[in-house]
């Protein structure tokens, strides 16, 4: 049992590592941690894709040995070309190396460690109190995982429109990961969904801290980690085993790959763009919101890149992005076509007359701003504090980071417009909808927003000069 558990984790890690291990070269401990987080996250997604392919090709085949062999062959088919083709990342400049007093840095690391321990303990406590997770976890994700694991040749019942409440239109990255692990264990152990949720929750923290440590400095990385964990909603949502935290991981991974390009040469930059595409593709393979994320990412890049780089460079860049996103998107397309699923859930729920109702515009706008301001789950709102932080600490000059930052800003704006339009056009009571899901939509963007915020602001501990 323990051996199988280890292998079930090792295979995805090795697949993921083959894709990203070149990021770890010459980057120190931060690059090592970042690589480990990215390798695990991408590897889990690819192993889910592999499991889904197995179900499609060999439905009802109960032989574990056959599945293990199939997975090993697939792993090699991914790993060998990846090792040969992906360019090593050569960091082109040193990170910020101005050092504040060691005691201050130690204090920041200490607080991050304290928060990590507290949050890990809270995660365990919450998981023991609700081992099957929250409502959506057992009624959607774990239920669909049971279909994939125990459904035999009838696994596609997971996509049946009869159980529309289980969102058969959602892709199966998360159920695939869980069902695959159960396949290795030979039983539907209830600890597996909780372990997967735990992995994504803390991988996201690790990725945020390590990537900012690499791109800025370790203190900024630690500060970002503290801010991420300062929103208790992040932990409770993670422990509820919802797909929102894994989705936020893939959004963050997309941003990280995208921002890392500025620190390396062009050849490595192309590989990183491909990886950004893969991470965005994983988001699409996880939830419908991820499919929208891909489209809006391309639109944001278009808006940011066309004026400065022109069409040809934009299309070349997007070709690498599309190559990375190809496999997960193909799986999404396959499920949409084979099971005749709607492309976007909300498209069928548009009430156009809402557009001409000024009262609704005002009401949605007020609720939108209020919920963003109060986001996080603390009695004292965190977002205004962060706004004050940006205003007081200031933005750093960073010409080199500009196109990436611009793309991220466009992306956040487009996501906000999209979210706003959902609440504007829904035929349902928008206040009820805000209460039910808006915080979780914001949570998807929370780690990426923290990443961009700490990327663009000055280091408060050193004497960097304020430019604006």
């Amino acid at each position: 049992m323990i051996g199988r558990s280890l292998i079930s984790f090792l295979v995805p890690f090795v697949i993921g590592l083959s894709l990203v291990y070149r990021c770890a070269r010459a980057g120190g401990k931060s690059a090592f941690l970042m690589t480990a987080c990215l390798a695990t996250g991408l590897g889990l997604a690819l192993s889910s894709l592999c499991f889904f392919t197995w179900l499609v090709l060999f439905p009802g085949n109960a032989s574990f040995a056959a599945f293990a062999a199939f997975e090993a062959i697939t792993a090699l088919a991914v790993a060998i070309p990846a090792v040969l083709l992906i360019k090593p990342v050569q960091w082109s400049e040193a990170m910020d190396d101005e050092r504040p007093p060691a005691l201050v840095s130690l204090g920041i690391y200490g607080i991050l460690f304290f928060m990590f321990i507290i949050n890990a303990a809270a995660f365990i406590a919450l998981s023991r109190q609700a081992p099957h997770g929250g409502w959506d976890a057992w009624a959607i994700w774990n239920m669909r995982a049971r279909f994939l694991f125990g459904g035999g040749q009838w696994w596609a019942g997971s996509f049946s429109k009869v159980i529309g409440w289980a969102h058969p239109d959602y892709p199966v990255l998360l159920p695939g990961i869980i069902a695959r692990a159960w396949r290795y264990l030979g039983e539907d152990a209830r600890a597996v969904p909780a372990i997967v949720a735990c992995a994504y929750t803390f991988l996201t923290v690790g990725l945020l801290v390590s990537s900012l440590s690499l791109l800025r400095n370790p203190r900024i990385g630690a500060l970002a980690g503290i801010v991420l964990l300062s929103a208790p909603l992040y932990l409770t949502c993670g422990a509820s085993q919802y797909a929102d935290v894994p989705l936020s991981f893939y959004y963050l991974a997309t941003c990280v790959f995208f921002f890392l390009r500025q620190r390396c040469d062009e050849a490595a930059g192309r590989s990183l763009m491909c990886m950004a595409g893969l991470a965005a593709g994983c988001a699409a393979w996880l939830k419908n919101e991820g499919q929208l994320f891909i489209v809006l990412f391309v639109c944001a890049r278009f808006l940011a890149a066309i004026p400065s780089r022109g069409f040809s460079k934009f299309f070349r860049e997007m070709a690498f992005f599309a190559a990375g996103a190809f496999l997960p998107c193909l799986a999404v397309l396959y499920t949409k076509i084979r099971f005749a699923l709607p492309a976007v859930d909300y498209a069928a729920q548009v009430t156009v007359k809402n557009m001409f109702d000024p009262g609704r515009w005002f009401g949605v706008a007020v609720e939108f701003v209020k919920r963003i301001t109060l986001f996080g789950g603390n009695s004292v709102p965190l977002v205004p504090l962060l706004a004050a932080y940006v205003w007081i600490v200031g933005l750093r000059p960073g010409q080199r980071g500009r196109p990436e930052v611009l793309t991220a800003c466009f992306l956040f704006c487009l996501m906000a417009i999209d979210y706003f339009s959902i609440y504007l056009f829904t035929p349902h009571d928008y206040t009820w909808m805000f209460a039910v899901n808006f915080d979780r939509l914001l949570l998807h963007l929370w780690p990426s927003a923290v990443f961009v915020l700490f990327f663009i602001t000055l280091d408060p501990l050193t004497n960097e000069k304020k430019s604006i």
Binding site: G107, I108, I111, F114, M115, I118, N119, A121, A122, I124, A125, R128, Q129, A130, P131, H132, W135, W138, A139, N142, M143, R146, F147, G150, G151, G152, Q153, W154, W155, G157, S160, V162, I163, W165, A166, R190, L223, I226, V227, L229, S230, A231, P232, L235, N378, V380, L382, L385, L386, A388, Y389, I392, V393, P460, L461, N463, K466
Partner: protein, 145 residues
């Protein structure tokens, strides 16, 4: 000029401290929450509920769609609290069979709070019991289909 820069540095430091204090207080509130809810394993309600349906699985077809009833008709099964949860859990338990709410299928799962004898009058239409499995779980057959 230098004084202005020093003043700004203090404001920046104060801001940083505020952010760190906010983080610590947030961690402390999570810690206090932990202490107020001791780490104990609660009874696994879902596992216990799912177990009720185990004997039913051998009677059902290996796949396809079956009906579901509790004898009570609700306006919207998706917004009926406990009733919704019970229906979803029945589906959770009976995979790979797909469970639809209603009696418009040949086989219908009866899921009741009380023994079937006490609630059989609630069943409408030409639906008859095939086997009473106890614990309020009954396999029914719609003879009109």
């Amino acid at each position: 000029m230098r004084e202005k820069r020093d003043a700004r540095a203090w404001v920046v430091r104060a801001m940083l401290v505020s952010l760190l204090v906010y983080g610590v207080l947030s961690g402390v509130s999570v810690f206090r929450e932990l202490l107020s809810h001791p780490i104990v394993d609660k009874e696994d309600f879902i596992a216990r509920y799912v177990e009720r349906f185990t004997p039913l699985k051998r009677l059902l077809p290996s796949h396809g769609v079956v009906g579901y009833t509790t004898g009570r008709e609700v306006d919207n099964i998706y917004l009926s609290g406990n009733e919704t949860a019970k229906y979803y859990l029945a589906q959770y338990a009976l995979i790979p069979v797909v469970v639809d709410y209603g009696t418009h299928y040949r086989f219908v799962i009866g899921n009741f709070d009380r023994p079937f004898d006490e609630v059989k009058d609630l069943i409408k239409g030409n639906v008859a019991p095939v086997e009473d499995l106890g614990n309020g779980v009954v396999l029914l057959e719609n003879r009109d289909i």
